[in-house]
C-alpha cells in the first residue's frame, strides 16, 4: 500500500511539474534572446574598467567566490567588457520551438521523453520545481555547445606550478566532437544512421606533443540512453593497442593535468550520475569575449595567422580576456557515487548559450578544490569559418587547483568545420589506424 502511494505521489509530482512549468513561445524568446530588451547592469560596473584588489569587494555580488578570492589575493584581475548577445544557430532555436509541449522528464533521473532536437526545457527554471536542476542539466546535455560537430585543432594544455610559475608540461592535442543525434544544422538531420547502439555524441582526442604522449588517443561514446554508461577507449602509442577504459578513469586526472575527463566542457558525464539542484538565477561576470579584440599570445602562432589567448596573472594561470555581466543559472551537482573524488560541483551556466563558463569543484571534505573556467568567444569575432555558426566557441580555459597551487591552462583553436569531423574518426578502428 505504501509503495502504491509513493508511486502515485511521484506520478503526481511529475505531472504537476510538467504542466506547471510547460514552456511557451515567449519562453523560447526569453531563453535564447535574454538581452533583446537590454543588458544587465550593476552599480559602478562599466565596460573597460578593471576589477582588482582595490575594488573587488564592491563587485562581490557579481563575481563567483573563487574568482573573487583570486582577485583579492592579487592573483588575477577582471577586465570588464560590454555584454553582447551570443545568438545560437536559428535552426537550433527553431528545433526548440518545434519541440514545445512535447518534451518531459521521465519518471526517474536520466530519463527524458519526446525530445527530438533543440533546447528541451526552455522555460525559466523555478525554485519551486523539484526537478528544475535536472532540466537545466538536460538543456546543457542537449545544448548547442559545439553545434553538430567541431574540432579544437589544435589545443594546447599547459601544466604550471602556481607558486613558482614554472611551466611543467605543454601538451598539444586535437579534440573532435560529433553529435550522432539531435542534429539541427548539418546533414544528416536529425540523426546519423545506422547507429545501432544509439550513440548520442562522441569525443575523439589525439595527443600530438610532447613525444612521451604522442599518439595517445581517447574516444568517448555517450549514449542516448542516459542510464547507459559511456564507453571510452584509450590508445597508447607505446602499446599500440586500444584499451577499453573503466569509467573510473573519467574521474581521474587526464594525462596528469588538473582536469578530469568528466570536467570536459564543464561537465562530461551522465545526468543520472549526479543529483542536480537549481540554486537560483543571477547576473554575474562571466568570461565571454570577442577573441579577435584581445591582445593575443605570440606563442604557437598558426600558419594562417591565428593566435591563441594569452595567459597572465599568478603563475600565468589566468587567461588574459574580458568578462561580461550575464544572466546565469547556478546549478549544483552532487555525485551519487560515494567513492567519487569530489563532493560537489557548483556550475554557473550561461542562460543564453547553456555553456558552463564557471564551475567550482569541492573535494570530498567539502572544501574548494578547483576552479574551472572556460572562456567563451563569439563566433563572429573569431576564425572566419566560425562566423555565423551560432556556436559559442570554447576558447580558453584554466583549471586552478587551489589546494595544490597548481593549474592547467588551455588555449583553443576552435573550428566549426564538418570536414574535420567525419563519422569514421569516432570509431575504435580509427584509433588503431591512426596509431603509430
Amino acid at each position: 500500500m505504501r509503495v502504491a502511494k509513493t508511486i502515485m505521489a511521484a506520478a503526481l509530482t511529475t505531472a504537476l511539474s510538467a504542466s506547471a512549468f510547460a514552456a511557451t513561445e515567449a519562453d523560447v524568446e526569453a531563453s535564447f534572446y535574454p538581452y533583446k530588451n537590454g543588458v544587465p547592469s550593476f552599480a559602478g560596473l562599466t565596460a573597460g574598467m578593471t576589477i582588482d584588489q582595490s575594488n573587488a569587494d564592491q563587485f562581490k555580488d557579481v563575481i563567483d567566490p573563487a574568482t573573487l578570492a583570486f582577485i583579492k589575493q592579487g592573483w588575477t584581475t577582471i577586465t570588464v567588457g560590454e555584454t553582447t548577445s551570443f545568438d545560437l544557430h536559428p535552426n537550433y532555436v527553431q528545433a526548440t520551438r518545434d519541440g514545445l509541449g512535447k518534451v518531459k522528464l521521465g519518471a526517474t533521473s536520466g530519463e527524458i521523453e519526446g525530445f527530438v532536437a533543440g533546447r528541451p526545457f526552455p522555460a525559466e527554471p523555478s525554485l519551486d520545481d523539484p526537478r528544475a536542476g535536472e532540466k537545466l542539466a538536460w538543456n546543457y546535455k542537449y545544448g548547442y555547445n559545439w553545434g553538430d560537430n567541431a574540432a579544437i585543432y589544435p589545443f594546447y594544455w599547459k601544466y604550471k606550478d602556481m607558486n613558482s610559475g614554472k611551466l611543467e608540461r605543454t601538451i598539444k592535442f586535437n579534440f573532435h566532437f560529433l553529435n550522432f543525434m539531435h542534429r539541427v544544422n548539418q546533414e544528416p538531420i536529425p540523426n546519423i544512421e545506422p547507429n545501432p547502439s544509439q550513440i548520442f555524441r562522441a569525443i575523439y582526442v589525439q595527443a600530438l606533443e610532447p613525444f612521451d604522449v604522442k599518439n595517445t588517443q581517447l574516444l568517448i561514446h555517450r549514449y542516448e540512453d542516459d542510464l547507459k554508461r559511456d564507453n571510452a577507449w584509450l590508445y597508447l602509442g607505446f602499446q599500440r593497442r586500444v584499451r577499453r577504459l573503466a569509467s573510473g578513469q573519467v574521474t581521474d586526472a587526464f594525462l596528469g593535468s588538473d582536469v578530469m575527463i568528466e570536467d570536459f566542457e564543464g561537465y562530461n558525464g551522465r545526468i543520472n550520475d549526479m543529483e542536480w539542484t537549481y540554486k537560483g538565477t543571477k547576473e554575474m561576470l562571466m568570461p565571454f569575449y570577442n577573441h579577435n579584440d584581445l591582445t593575443l599570445s605570440e606563442e604557437h602562432k598558426e600558419s594562417d595567422g591565428y593566435q591563441f589567448v594569452e595567459m597572465t596573472g599568478k603563475g600565468n594561470c589566468f587567461p588574459q580576456i574580458t568578462w561580461q555581466l550575464r544572466k546565469v543559472y547556478v546549478l549544483e551537482n552532487v555525485p551519487k557515487d560515494s567513492n567519487h573524488p569530489i563532493s560537489k560541483r557548483v556550475h554557473y551556466i550561461d542562460a543564453q548559450t547553456f555553456t558552463i563558463p564557471r564551475t567550482l569543484i569541492y573535494d570530498r571534505k567539502g572544501e574548494l578544490w578547483k576552479s574551472w573556467q572556460i572562456g567563451q568567444a563569439h563566433p563572429d569575432h573569431h576564425l572566419p569559418k566560425n562566423k555565423g555558426t551560432g556556436v559559442a566557441i570554447d576558447d580558453s580555459f584554466t583549471m586552478v587547483d587551489v589546494q595544490a597551487m597548481h593549474c592547467t591552462t588551455g588555449q583553443f583553436k576552435g573550428q566549426v568545420d564538418p570536414a574535420l569531423n567525419p563519422t569514421k574518426k569516432f570509431t575504435v578502428q580509427n584509433m588503431r589506424a591512426s596509431g603509430r
Binding site: 547507429n195 606533443e209 613525444f211 599500440r240 577504459l245 573510473g248 595544490a404 563519422t423 589506424a433
Partner: protein
C-alpha cells in the same frame, strides 16, 4: 692473462662514458625535432642509455640507442586518400662487453666436468672424460672460452653437464648455428646492423580507398608490426611478428622487441551497420623471408630459458664432439666424438610463397563489447628440436650415419602452425572494471618428448588470457589520483600432452599439461603524472617462480625521462627432468638390445637439458636479479 688485464684497464676508462654521452646528446641543441613548413613531414626520435647491473655479475647492459621516427603525409594520390609514408629507424650499441668480461670476446674460460663415479676423477677438465671407440673431441675444441651450461643457476648435481662456448662467433665459432645463432661481436653490440637491415625498424606506406557505399579499404604495405589481441605481456594472438628476447628477456615492452616484418595489410572498414557499432575485416600477408624469434645467443647477456646456451653447447657437440658430465653409466664424464649427439643444423625456411604467412581478422564493437575473430597460418617463431637425424655410433669406431631412435641428436625446425582464436573486452559497471579475454587454439606446435623415438611430438595447444583492469583510489597512498590495478591470468593447455612417472623420474613432455602464469600491475601517478611508481609481479604456478619488478618513472621535462627499476626473482629455479641418458640409443653398449627407449631402464634425471621447460622463463632467470637505470631524451 694480458688480454684480461687490458680489459680491466680499459673498463676503468670507459665506465662512465655511455651515460655521459647520452646526457651530452640529450642536452645538445642540435637534437631537435623537425616539422616542415606545410606540416606534412615530421621527424623526431630519441636517444637513450640503459644501464643494468646484475647481482653478482656486474653490468649486464650498457645499451645506447638512437631512434628516428619519420612521417610524411601525402594526402590524396589518385583514387587513394590519406596516403603517407612512415618510418622508424633504430641504432643501438650495447657496450656491456667493454665493462664486464663475463660477456664478449674474453668471456668464459676453462671448465671442469663432473664425473660422480670418480673415473677418472670426480671432475675432469673439458676434453678429459673417458674416451669412446669412435674418437674424441676435435683438435680445436679446447678447454677455453667455455662455461658450464646453466652454471649460474645450478650445480651439475649428478645430472648431464655440457660446456658452452660463450664468445662471439667471430672470436669462437664453436656452437654457432649457421643462419640462426651465429652473431659476431659487432652484431651482438649493434644488432640492428645485420643482413636483414634491422636498423629499418619500420618503413611502410599507408593509403585508403573510399568506396561509394561509404565503406573504405585501407592498406599498409612495408616493414611493420601488426598487433592482434588485447592483453599485455602474453602473446596469444599477438604472434604475427617474431620477438627479440635477446634485448631483455621477456621484460621489455613488446613495441620495442617485436621484430618488424615486411607485410601487407588490407582492411575493409564497414563502419557502423545495423548490428555493429563498428565492423572491420583485415587481411594480413607476411611476405617477408621467415625469421624466428631471437632467443639470445649462447654467451650473450639475455637468453630466454637459457636456450641459446643449450643450443650452442649441443651444436658444438655435433660439430666438434664434447665432454658430457656423468654420462657413461650415468656417472662418468664422457668424451663424445663429433656427429653423435647434439644439434646438427637449423632448417631455416627459405623464401617461397608456401613459406609466407597469412592471417584474417574480423574485429568490431557491438552492445558495449569489443570482439575479434582471428585466424592465422604461420611458421612457429620458436624452434622445434626434431631427433631422428643420421648419426654415428661412437661405440663402433666406424662411421654409420644411421638413425638411432632416442638419440639426443637433433635438427632445428620451425614447423607450420595454424591458429584460430578470438578476443573480447567489456566493461562491468557494477565492478567498475574492464575485462579482457583472449584465446587461441593452435595445431602444429611441437614439444620435446622423451617418450617418442625422435624425442619430440606435436600437440594442439589452447592458450587463453583473462585480464582485469580497475582504476582504484587508495586514499592513504594518493587521495587525488587513482591507481591502475591490472591483473592477468594466462593459461596454456597441451591437448596432446604425454607424461609418465617411472622409476622416480618424470618422462615425456617437460612442459606441464596445464599451466598458468599470473601477472599483477599496480601503477600510480604523482606530481601531475611526472612521477609514476609501479610494481609488476609475475608468478609462474607450474615453475613456482616469481618476478617482482618495481620501477619509478620520472619525467624530468617534456623531453627527458629517467626510469629506475629492479627485477627480482624469488621462488624455485632450476628443475629436473628425464635427460635421456638411459634412453639406450646404442644397444648393447648403452643397454639391452631391443630396449631402445625402454621405460624400465629410465631412472636418470637432471637439470639439463629439459628441466628448463619446467622452470620456465622466470625460473630459468632466477639468478638474474638486476637494478636498471634508463635515461631517455626525446626530441
Amino acid at each position: 692473462m694480458s688480454e684480461i688485464t687490458n680489459s680491466v684497464g680499459r673498463s676503468n676508462g670507459w665506465r662512465r662514458l655511455p651515460l655521459i654521452a647520452a646526457v651530452g646528446l640529450a642536452m645538445s641543441q642540435n637534437a631537435i625535432a623537425y616539422t616542415s613548413e606545410d606540416g606534412t613531414l615530421e621527424i623526431n626520435g630519441f636517444v637513450e642509455n640503459a644501464t643494468y647491473q646484475r647481482n653478482g655479475e656486474g653490468l649486464s647492459k650498457v645499451r645506447n640507442t638512437a631512434q628516428i621516427e619519420m612521417a610524411k603525409t601525402l594526402g590524396d594520390v589518385g583514387r587513394f586518400s590519406n596516403v603517407g609514408v612512415y618510418g622508424t629507424f633504430r641504432a643501438t650499441y650495447d657496450a656491456v662487453d667493454h665493462f664486464n668480461d663475463r660477456f664478449g670476446r674474453s668471456a668464459g674460460g676453462p671448465v671442469f666436468m663432473e664425473s660422480t663415479s670418480g673415473v677418472p676423477a670426480s671432475s675432469v677438465p673439458y676434453g678429459g672424460g673417458i674416451a669412446l671407440p669412435g674418437g674424441g673431441l676435435e683438435p680445436g675444441n679446447v678447454n677455453d672460452g667455455l662455461v658450464l651450461l646453466g652454471s649460474d643457476l645450478h650445480d651439475t648435481d649428478g645430472g648431464v653437464g655440457l660446456a658452452v662456448p660463450v664468445r662471439p662467433c667471430d672470436k669462437d665459432s664453436r656452437g654457432c648455428i649457421d643462419g640462426y645463432m651465429d652473431a659476431d661481436t659487432n652484431e651482438l653490440r649493434s644488432p640492428e646492423f645485420n643482413d636483414r637491415w634491422d636498423f629499418i625498424r619500420e618503413l611502410y606506406v599507408d593509403a585508403s580507398l573510399p568506396q561509394v557505399d561509404g565503406t573504405e579499404w585501407s592498406f599498409r604495405v612495408g616493414k611493420q608490426q601488426v598487433i592482434w589481441g588485447r592483453t599485455d605481456l602474453f602473446r596469444v594472438l599477438d604472434v604475427l611478428n617474431p620477438v627479440d628476447y635477446s634485448r631483455h628477456n621477456i621484460y621489455d615492452e613488446l613495441e620495442d622487441i617485436r621484430i618488424p616484418m615486411w607485410m601487407a595489410t588490407a582492411e575493409k572498414h564497414f563502419g557502423a551497420t545495423e548490428l555493429f557499432d563498428d565492423l572491420n575485416l583485415q587481411f594480413v600477408w607476411n611476405f617477408d623471408k621467415f625469421r624466428p624469434s631471437n632467443l639470445g645467443q649462447g654467451g650473450s647477456t639475455y637468453a630466454i630459458l637459457d636456450a641459446g646456451n643449450f643450443f650452442r653447447a649441443m651444436n658444438n657437440c655435433w660439430d666438434n664432439g664434447c665432454t658430457v658430465s656423468n654420462f657413461a653409466n650415468g656417472n662418468t664424464a664422457t668424451d663424445f666424438p663429433k656427429n653423435v649427439i647434439g644439434i646438427r643444423k637449423a632448417h631455416m625456411p627459405s623464401w617461397s610463397l608456401d613459406n609466407t604467412q597469412f592471417g584474417v581478422k574480423l574485429e568490431g564493437e557491438t552492445k558495449g563489447v569489443g570482439f575479434s575473430l582471428n585466424a592465422l597460418t604461420y611458421r612457429s617463431h620458436l624452434p622445434s628440436l626434431r631427433g631422428g637425424i643420421p648419426a654415428d655410433n661412437p661405440f663402433t669406431g666406424s662411421v654409420e650415419s644411421d638413425i638411432f631412435p632416442y638419440l639426443i641428436a637433433f635438427d632445428i625446425h620451425f614447423p607450420r602452425v595454424n591458429l584460430i582464436g578470438g578476443s573480447l573486452d567489456l566493461y562491468s559497471d557494477s565492478l567498475k572494471s574492464v575485462f579482457r579475454v583472449e584465446a587461441a587454439y593452435t595445431d602444429g606446435e611441437e614439444f620435446a618428448n622423451t617418450l617418442r623415438p625422435r624425442l619430440f611430438s606435436e600437440s594442439d595447444v589452447f592458450r587463453y588470457v583473462i585480464g582485469w583492469d580497475r582504476p582504484t583510489f587508495i586514499p592513504f597512498l594518493n587521495d587525488r589520483r587513482a591507481f591502475l590495478l591490472s591483473a592477468q591470468l594466462f593459461g596454456q593447455y597441451l591437448v596432446d600432452h604425454e607424461r609418465k612417472r617411472v622409476n622416480g623420474i618424470e618422462v615425456g613432455i617437460p612442459d606441464k599439461e596445464l599451466n598458468h602464469i599470473a601477472t599483477f600491475l599496480m601503477k600510480g601517478w604523482y606530481k601531475n603524472d611526472r612521477l609514476s611508481p609501479q610494481m609488476i609481479v609475475a608468478h609462474d604456478f607450474g615453475a613456482k617462480a616469481t618476478t617482482l619488478a618495481p620501477s619509478v618513472d620520472w619525467l624530468i621535462s617534456d623531453n627527458l625521462r629517467l626510469t629506475v627499476g629492479a627485477n627480482i626473482k624469488v621462488g624455485d629455479s632450476a628443475q629436473k627432468f628425464d635427460d635421456c641418458r638411459a634412453c639406450n640409443p646404442f644397444p648393447p653398449a648403452t643397454g639391452p638390445v631391443g630396449a631402445e627407449g625402454s621405460l624400465a631402464i629410465r631412472s636418470l634425471a637432471g637439470f639439463e637439458p629439459l628441466g628448463r621447460f619446467r622452470a620456465g622463463p622466470i625460473g630459468m632467470a632466477q639468478n638474474e636479479d638486476e637494478v636498471q637505470v634508463t635515461l631517455r631524451y626525446r626530441f
